[in-house]
C-alpha cells in the first residue's frame, strides 16, 4: 500500500522532472492543474495524506501491493506482467470502418461496452491540433471520433477525476501504462474513504515505449508543418524506426532519432511497456500495422473481451509464438532499463516519500537478469 509521508507531490515528482502529466492529481482539488501538457501545482497544500500523492504513478509505487490487489498474487519478473491469455486482434464486422491507429480493437471494445451499457461512459483522448484533449464520452458513436494515438503524454486521468466529481461511476477508460498504474492505485482507495471507491468498470491499457513531451513536440512540428492540417500521426512497427505525419495528401517522415530528444526524461524510469495493471492491454502487432496484440489480464476484462468477440465487435486470433517472444523480449528490456535508471537515481526503494518504486530485492534481481539488450530493437 502507498506509503504516506509528509512532503508533497510537487517536490517529489514535478520538481524532480518525473511528472508525465498523466492527470491523476488533477481535478481532485484546486491545487494541481494541467496546462498545455504540463502539470503545475498552483499553491502548496498542507495535508499530510492526499489523493494526489496516493494516485501519482511516479512516487511510492508499491508494485507488489498493486499486483496483490488486482491479481491476488505477488509482482514477479514476468516481462508482460500477469495475464490470462494473449491474442492477435482487430475490430469485427459490427464496427464500421473508421480511423484507427492499428486494428481498431480499442475503439471497438469501448464502442461495445458503451452500447451494451457495461460502462456508463468512456474516458477517451481526442486532440485539438496537437494538444491531447481527454473527454468523457457517453454516446457509443462518439468513440470513433477519439480513435488514433496521440503520441504525446496526455492528462487523460484529469477527465476521469472530473467525471467522478460529477458523480459518474462504472467508467471505461483508455490509458497508457503509467496511467494504468495510477488508475490501479485509485481503485485501491488508499485513503479508505467510501466516496473514493473504485470508479472504473473497464481499463484498457495501451502498449507504450515512451510518449512525447507535448510542448517540445509541438515546437518541433510547428517548424515543419501547419499543425491544423495534421490528419494522423503514426509510429509504424519495427523495423521502420520512423514517425510519420500525415497531412491531407502528403506524408512527412521523421527518423526516430530526431524524435527521441522530445521524450521526457521520466519515460526512461518507467518499467512498464504493456500496461500491466489494466484489464486489457492493446498494442500494435509487430509487422502488421493494421492488427493489434491484446493481452487479457483480469476476469472482468476477459468477460468483456469474450462477449465482444461473441457478438462480432472484435476478432480474436491466436498469437504466433514468435511474436509473443519478441514482445516479451522488448517488454523485459524496458523493465530492466527502467529499474536500472531508477536505481541509479535513487528512485528504486529510495528515500521515503520521494522514491518512484518499491520492489523486493529478489524480484529486482530476476528482472535485471531477464532483460537482455542483444535482440533487434523495437522503436
Amino acid at each position: 500500500m502507498k506509503q504516506f509521508v509528509p512532503g508533497d507531490l510537487d517536490a517529489a515528482v514535478i520538481q524532480e522532472g518525473l511528472c508525465i502529466g498523466c492527470g491523476a492529481c488533477i481535478h481532485l482539488c484546486p491545487y494541481f492543474q494541467s496546462y498545455r501538457g504540463k502539470t503545475a501545482r498552483l499553491f502548496p497544500c498542507t495535508l499530510k495524506e492526499g489523493r494526489c500523492f496516493a494516485y501519482c504513478p511516479k512516487v511510492e509505487v508499491d508494485l507488489d501491493g498493486i499486483s496483490r490487489f488486482l491479481f491476488g498474487k505477488r509482482y514477479d519478473s514476468a516481462p508482460l506482467g500477469t495475464y490470462r491469455s494473449i491474442h492477435v486482434s482487430r475490430a469485427g464486422e459490427k464496427v464500421k470502418k473508421s480511423s484507427f491507429q492499428a486494428g481498431g480493437t480499442v475503439s471497438a471494445l469501448m464502442y461495445f461496452a458503451l452500447r451494451e451499457k457495461l460502462i456508463r461512459g468512456a474516458i477517451l483522448t481526442g486532440r485539438k491540433e496537437l494538444l491531447p484533449t481527454p473527454q468523457l464520452v457517453e454516446k457509443p458513436a462518439a468513440v470513433f471520433r477519439h480513435g488514433l494515438s496521440k503520441y504525446t503524454a496526455a492528462p487523460t486521468l484529469a477527465a476521469l477525476n472530473e467525471a467522478i466529481e460529477k458523480g459518474c461511476d462504472n467508467l471505461g477508460i483508455v490509458v497508457t501504462p503509467c496511467q494504468a498504474t495510477a488508475v490501479a492505485q485509485m481503485r485501491m482507495n488508499p485513503m479508505g474513504n467510501p466516496s473514493f471507491e473504485d470508479p472504473t468498470a473497464l481499463v484498457i491499457g495501451l502498449f507504450c515505449t515512451w510518449a512525447l513531451d507535448f510542448r517540445r513536440f509541438e515546437a518541433f512540428l510547428a517548424q515543419e508543418v501547419p499543425l491544423k492540417e495534421i490528419v494522423r500521426i503514426d509510429i509504424p512497427p519495427p523495423p521502420a524506426s520512423v514517425l510519420e505525419v500525415y497531412l491531407q495528401d502528403e506524408k512527412l517522415v521523421f527518423p526516430l532519432d530526431k524524435i527521441r530528444p522530445l521524450v521526457p526524461d521520466t519515460c526512461g524510469y518507467c518499467p512498464d511497456m504493456t500496461a500491466e495493471f489494466a484489464d486489457l492491454s492493446v498494442g500494435v502487432l509487430e509487422g502488421r500495422g493494421d492488427m493489434n496484440t491484446i493481452i487479457i489480464r483480469t476476469e472482468r476484462g476477459e468477460r468483456i473481451a469474450r462477449e465482444a468477440e461473441r457478438q462480432g465487435y472484435i476478432i480474436l486470433e491466436e498469437m504466433p509464438q514468435e511474436n509473443r517472444e519478441h514482445l516479451e523480449w522488448a517488454a523485459a528490456n524496458k523493465k530492466r532499463r527502467g529499474l536500472l535508471r531508477s536505481r541509479e537515481a535513487g528512485k528504486l526503494n529510495g528515500e521515503e516519500g520521494k522514491t518512484y518504486m518499491r520492489l523486493s530485492a529478489e524480484v529486482i534481481d530476476e528482472i535485471l537478469i531477464n532483460g537482455k539488450e542483444d535482440a533487434p530493437c523495437h522503436t
Binding site: Y31, Q33, Y35, L42, F43, T46, L47
Partner: protein, 649 residues
C-alpha cells in the same frame, strides 16, 4: 463655505499641517497649485481644489511630479504665485527640471512643498528630500508647528520673490497629518490676478528676458548669480522670525532641531525639567544655515545634540560651520546620529529624545508610558486577530494577481512579475500570492521588464510580466513601454486599471473623465494609446478569472515584442462601488469541503479575502456579511461550488 477661507478676524481653526500650508498660501495670494498624489502630501492639492472657485485658483493633479513643477513654474514665469506639491519620492522625479529651474530662476513667488515620510509609514522608502536643497542650491524652510506651517508660507513667497528663485518647504508625516490650532491672518481681498509672460528683454534680464537654464560654456553667467541668491538668502535667514531659541543663556547642552522633532525636543525637556539647563534652538531655515545666528548659539555652549529624522543633514551642516568657525567659537562636542545617540533609520518620537536627554544630562527617567504601551499592546493582541497586510474585500488586485499567479504557474517556465508603485506593491506578499519579484520606483517595473525581455540572447527563457496601475501608466510607465515596443522586448505589461489613483484616495489622472476641480475633461484611453504605440493589446475584466488567465496565458506564449493586458475593474473603495454589493454571497455548508482532501480551505488559506472566514468548530467556511463587498469572485475559485451568489436587486 470651507473653513479654509474663513475671513473672520483672528479666528482659530484646528488645522492639519497640510491645511495650514494651504491657508498660508491662500493668505499669500497663491494663484496656481499643481501636484501628484502621494501620502503624506495629498491633502494639500485636495484642499486647494475645494476653494479654487472662491479664490480664483488654478489647481491640478499633474501627470507626474516633474510636470507639476513645470506647470507651477509657468505661473511663476508669468508673474503669479504658485506651488508644486509632492511626497519625497516625487522630488526625485521632479529633480531634473528642478535643477534647471533653480538655475533659470523664477519670477512670481514659487514654492516646492515636499512632504517626507520618515519611517516610511506609507512609502516604499524613507527617502530624504532635504539634501535636494543643497544639490539644487535653493533655500529650504521647515516649519516647526502648525501655526508656523501657515505663517512661514507667506514669508517664503516673499523670500522667493526677493531672491527670484524657487524656495523649498519640507514637511513630514507628523507635521502634515497631525493637527493643531492655527490663528488666521487676512486673505487678500483682490483675487483677480493677471498673468503675462514678458520675454522681450535681453537674455539674462531676470524680469523681462526669456527664461532659460543654459548659457553654453558660461556657467559664471548663471551659476554665479544663483550662488549670490543663496548668500542673500543666508543673510535674510539671520533674522528669520521662525528661528527661535528657548533656554538659558549658556546652556549645558544645546539641542538644535527642526520640524516635528522640535515638538519632541520641547516635550522631552519639559518632562525632565531641564528648562534651566538645556536650550532648544529650533531652526526653520535649515539650508543655507544663517552663520552669524548659529555661531552665536554655538559659542554659548560646549555640548550640542542634534535632533532630526532620517539623514544627519542638519548635523553635517552644523558641524561644517562649527569646524570653519572653531577659532571663533572653540571646539564642541556633538551628539546625534553619527555618535549613535539617535537612530539613523525610522521616525523619532518623544521617548527616543527623552532617553538620549536623560543619558546626556544624567537625569534618571523611568518611562511610565512604557507600562501603558505594553498593556495596550497586550490588549490589542487579545482583541484583534493577528493579520498580515492584505487587499480589501472585493479588491480587483486580488483577482488580478490570482490570475497572473496561476497563469505563470501553469506556464511553468519560472516566470515572474516586476512590480510597481500602488496598492499592488502587495504583490510581493501572500496577499498577492507572492508573484512580484522586483519593486522599485514609479514606472520602473516595466522598464526593468523591458530589460529582462532582452536577455533571451543570454538564454533567459523565463516569461516576464510587469504590473502597473492606471495612474502609474501615465506617470512614468509610458516611456518604458515605448522602449520595449521599439526594441521588441518580449514581456507582458499588465495594466491594473482601477479607475483612479486609488492608493492615495482616488485622485483623477489623465485617464479620468473629471479633473480635481470637478470639470469634465478628455479622458485618455489607455487601450487605444497602447495599441497606437504598437503593442499587442488585450483587455479583460479581472473578476472573470478564467478568461483573464487564458488571455494572459496566450500572451505569455506569444513571443514577439511587448504585449499589454489591461485589467479593468474599479477599486472596491471607489465612490461608484463603496457600500454597494453586486452579489449576496453565501456558503453552502453541506457542500463545503473544508479541510478535507479536495480543497483544504482554498478560500481562507490561500485566496484570503477577509470577507471569507473559517469556522474552526464546524470545519466549514462562511461569508462575513459585514465585511464581504459582494464582488462574487470567490464563487469561481471554490472547487466544490459551495460558494453561491445571488445578484442584489
Amino acid at each position: 463655505m470651507s473653513y479654509l477661507i474663513d475671513e473672520g478676524k483672528n479666528v482659530q481653526h484646528l488645522l492639519m499641517g497640510n491645511e495650514a500650508i494651504v491657508r498660508g498660501a491662500l493668505e499669500a495670494g497663491i494663484n496656481v497649485a499643481a501636484g501628484y498624489p502621494g501620502t503624506p502630501s495629498s491633502e494639500i492639492i485636495e484642499s486647494f481644489s475645494q476653494v479654487a472657485k472662491e479664490r480664483n485658483l488654478y489647481v491640478e493633479w499633474s501627470t507626474n511630479e516633474k510636470v507639476a513643477v513645470e506647470v507651477a513654474a509657468a505661473a511663476s514665469f508669468a508673474g503669479l504665485r504658485s506651488m508644486c506639491v509632492m511626497k519625497q519620492n516625487g522630488v526625485n522625479v521632479a529633480s531634473d527640471f528642478l535643477l534647471h529651474l533653480a538655475s533659470s530662476g523664477t519670477r512670481g513667488g514659487m514654492l516646492l512643498v515636499s512632504c517626507d515620510d520618515p519611517g516610511a509609514l506609507s512609502s516604499v522608502n524613507e527617502g530624504e528630500s532635504r539634501l535636494f536643497a543643497q544639490l539644487l542650491e535653493i533655500p529650504l524652510l521647515e516649519p516647526g508647528d502648525f501655526q508656523e506651517a501657515k505663517d512661514i508660507i507667506k514669508w517664503a513667497y516673499e523670500l522667493s520673490e526677493e531672491i527670484r528663485n524657487i524656495v523649498m518647504i519640507r514637511s513630514v508625516t507628523r507635521m502634515s497629518h497631525a493637527s493643531g490650532n492655527v490663528t488666521y491672518g487676512p486673505l487678500p481681498s483682490d483675487t483677480a490676478a493677471r498673468a503675462k509672460f514678458n520675454y522681450h528683454g535681453p537674455l539674462l534680464d531676470p524680469e523681462n528676458g526669456p527664461v532659460i537654464s543654459m548659457i553654453l560654456a558660461a556657467p559664471e553667467l548663471q551659476h554665479g548669480p544663483q550662488q549670490e541668491k543663496m548668500k542673500k538668502a543666508a543673510a535674510i535667514f539671520e533674522t528669520c522670525p521662525f528661528n527661535t531659541y528657548t533656554g538659558p543663556e549658556a546652556p549645558e547642552l544645546l539641542i538644535i532641531t527642526s520640524s516635528a522633532c522640535s515638538l519632541y525636543s520641547r516635550e522631552a525637556v519639559k518632562i525632565l525639567g531641564l528648562g534651566k539647563r538645556v536650550g532648544i534652538l529650533k531652526l526653520a531655515t535649515t539650508w543655507p544655515l544663517p552663520p552669524v545666528f548659529l555661531k552665536k548659539h554655538l559659542a554659548a555652549t560646549e555640548r550640542i545634540l542634534i535632533v532630526e529624522e532620517v539623514a544627519p543633514t542638519l548635523e553635517d551642516h552644523v558641524k561644517v560651520l562649527a569646524a570653519e568657525s572653531v577659532q571663533e567659537i572653540g571646539p564642541k562636542l556633538f551628539y546625534g546620529k553619527k555618535s549613535g545617540h539617535l537612530p539613523s533609520v525610522g521616525e523619532l518620537n518623544p521617548d527616543l529624545v527623552l532617553a538620549v536627554l536623560s543619558r546626556l544630562c544624567a537625569v534618571p527617567y523611568e518611562a511610565a508610558a512604557g507600562v501603558f504601551a505594553t498593556e495596550a499592546k497586550a490588549l490589542m493582541e487579545k482583541l484583534a486577530p493577528p493579520r498580515g497586510m492584505i487587499f480589501c474585500p472585493g479588491c480587483p488586485h486580488r483577482a488580478s494577481y490570482w490570475s497572473i499567479h496561476n497563469a505563470l504557474q501553469l506556464d511553468g517556465r519560472g516566470g515572474f512579475v516586476c512590480g510597481d508603485i500602488g496598492c499592488y506593491v502587495m504583490g510581493i506578499l501572500p496577499a498577492g500570492f507572492s508573484t512580484v519579484k522586483t519593486l522599485h520606483a514609479m514606472g520602473s517595473g516595466s522598464g526593468i521588464a523591458s530589460g529582462f525581455g532582452k536577455l533571451r540572447q543570454f538564454g533567459m527563457d523565463q516569461p516576464i510580466v510587469s504590473v502597473c496601475g492606471d495612474s502609474t501608466f501615465f506617470h512614468a510607465a509610458m516611456p518604458a513601454l515605448a522602449n520595449a515596443i521599439h526594441h521588441r522586448s518580449p514581456f507582458t505589461m499588465v495594466i491594473l486599471d482601477n479607475r483612479g489613483t486609488a492608493m492615495t484616495g482616488f485622485q483623477p489622472h489623465p485617464g479620468s473623465p473629471i479633473n480635481v476641480l470637478g470639470e469634465t475633461v478628455p479622458a485618455l484611453d489607455i487601450e487605444k494609446i497602447c495599441r497606437a504605440m504598437g503593442a499587442k493589446v488585450e483587455a479583460s475584466d479581472p473578476f472573470d478569472l478564467e478568461k483573464t488567465r487564458e488571455k494572459l496565458g496566450h500572451l505569455l506564449e506569444y513571443a514577439e515584442g511587448a504585449k499589454v493586458l489591461i485589467l479593468k475593474q474599479a477599486c472596491a473603495l471607489s465612490p461608484e462601488k463603496r457600500g454597494r454589493k453586486k452579489y449576496e454571497v453565501t456558503v453552502d455548508e453541506t457542500l463545503c469541503r473544508g479541510e478535507d482532501c479536495g480543497c483544504n480551505r482554498l478560500c481562507t488559506r490561500i485566496f484570503g479575502c477577509p470577507g471569507l472566514a473559517w469556522d474552526g468548530e464546524k470545519k466549514v467556511s462562511h461569508i462575513d456579511d459585514i465585511i464581504c463587498a459582494g464582488c462574487g469572485v470567490c464563487v469561481d475559485i471554490c472547487p466544490a461550488g459551495a460558494i453561491l451568489k445571488k445578484e442584489v436587486a
